[in-house]
Symmetry: C2
Subunit: 264 residues, 2 copies
């Protein structure tokens, strides 16, 4: 029923689907959504260009454009994510089911890559991710941490890099680096392996966002990847006057397949 | 004497060096330069994002900024390329040694990757490039062709993809694909192997730009890579009101090393 990205978008648009999108229409590229007024669009695109690991750009819609023509023909960005958030002056001010009453002709939409794509590649490579590979009711969100690594600023956008954490068996660490290196469009290779204190993480079991993932054996090593929460955290830290995003976990689905984002 | 990028930039700035930069300060990343008014900058950056193979962005300077702070600290984009071209309304109107009298505070500078970086990687992998590996007086420019492949347009920017051509021994074609795949920041993997008529090239020995490179044996296969001439060709085809570029072959040198651009 909801096997393809366009079927999911149609179900969301008609109000039949309002849940988180993890595991939905497997194999299709899901994206983070950031919508900004045109007068901030150049600086934000520049921020993404300078920080491609946390902010891998999948598509940018031109001002006022509502259809993601390149990666999701027939879509409507005002209706096709299951939940949206509105931020004003660096504070979340509201959540909405659609953007019908908020849309303006000067708004520019950015679709940014999401770790769902490389997580599937890790699983395909035989690397266990227990927070995903379990009964749906036991699924947890990946742990995410603020770091002491500053992003490269652009115009008003500046702030710390956020990373996601995954515990990998030591014998599979090299393979995990190789597999995710093939996907620079969805955060790419990890930015750190091992001791989190080196990048400003005091306790690897107390994440700033998401759920803790205590390692089940002493053989597991924590790997840290640049995270798609970074642009939201940066926009908040920067006091961005007006921004719309998807609600975390309620992603926009494109017609791209995960493998389309592999560089080799 | 001119062993590092900063030494070359200093020699250019002082007027001591006004030659093409091929082979100069080997191992440093050289870039194409495109300078546009701020009101075209978002659409051009969008064009680059949509066409990363011909337009790989190395750095974008903020409006009015003259120093490439991230990739060439201490540089001055107004003086540090050996020759510049000015285009007005889609026509070349002048060449200049520097931009002292042309600079404006609304100008945005784009530095785009150049094939010099991946050519060195090919040579390091044992793949012969006779138009480079010869006495300096015999060196030729790489052959370049217009294709029937349209770039993905953005705002006013639209036009055909330009490709460069290199003849590779058939036994080394796979290796050439592998080696250049590691460098998506400087055009990456080829876009076509073999019969050029498939991409709108009627005669592989009659290039639209650069010099012909007749194959020296029947064992050589033509490979085609997306080319940094594309953004200039597109800007010209689009009748861009005002644009400054480097003169072809007279590149801007960054402090990055070629290997910094390898994704793995």
């Amino acid at each position: 029923m909801l096997e393809t990205a366009s079927e999911v978008r149609e179900a969301v648009r008609s109000g039949r689907f309002r849940q988180p999108t993890a595991g939905v229409a497997g194999g299709y590229v899901q994206t983070n959504v950031v919508i900004l007024p045109k007068d901030l669009a150049f600086e934000f695109l520049l921020f993404c260009q300078r920080n491609p690991k946390p902010c891998p750009v999948i598509e940018v819609l031109e001002p006022g454009q509502t259809e993601a023509r390149l990666t999701a023909p027939g879509s409507d960005i005002r209706t096709d994510a299951p939940r949206y958030r509105v931020y004003e002056s660096g504070q979340m001010s509201a959540e909405h089911d659609n953007l019908a009453e908020l849309w303006r002709d000067d708004l520019v939409t950015f679709l940014l890559g999401c770790s769902f794509s490389f997580e599937q590649a890790l699983i395909d490579a035989g690397i266990a991710l227990p927070y995903i590979q379990c009964a749906p009711e036991l699924r947890r969100n990946v742990p995410m941490f603020n770091t002491n690594i500053e992003t490269v600023s652009a115009g008003p956008f500046a702030g710390p890099l956020v990373v996601s954490q995954r515990w990998i068996p030591s014998a599979q660490v090299v393979r995990a680096v190789q597999v995710t290196s093939r996907f620079p469009g969805v955060h790419g290779a990890p930015i750190h392996i091992g001791d989190g204190s080196v990048i400003g993480i005091p306790d690897p079991l107390q994440p700033d966002y998401g759920d803790p993932w205590p390692p089940s054996s002493g053989d597991l090593v924590p790997l840290y990847w640049a995270c798609g929460v970074t642009p939201q955290a940066v926009a908040l830290a920067s006091g961005t006057p007006f921004m719309i995003t998807h609600a975390p976990g309620y992603m926009f689905l494109t017609d791209l397949r995960d493998q389309d984002l592999s560089v080799f």
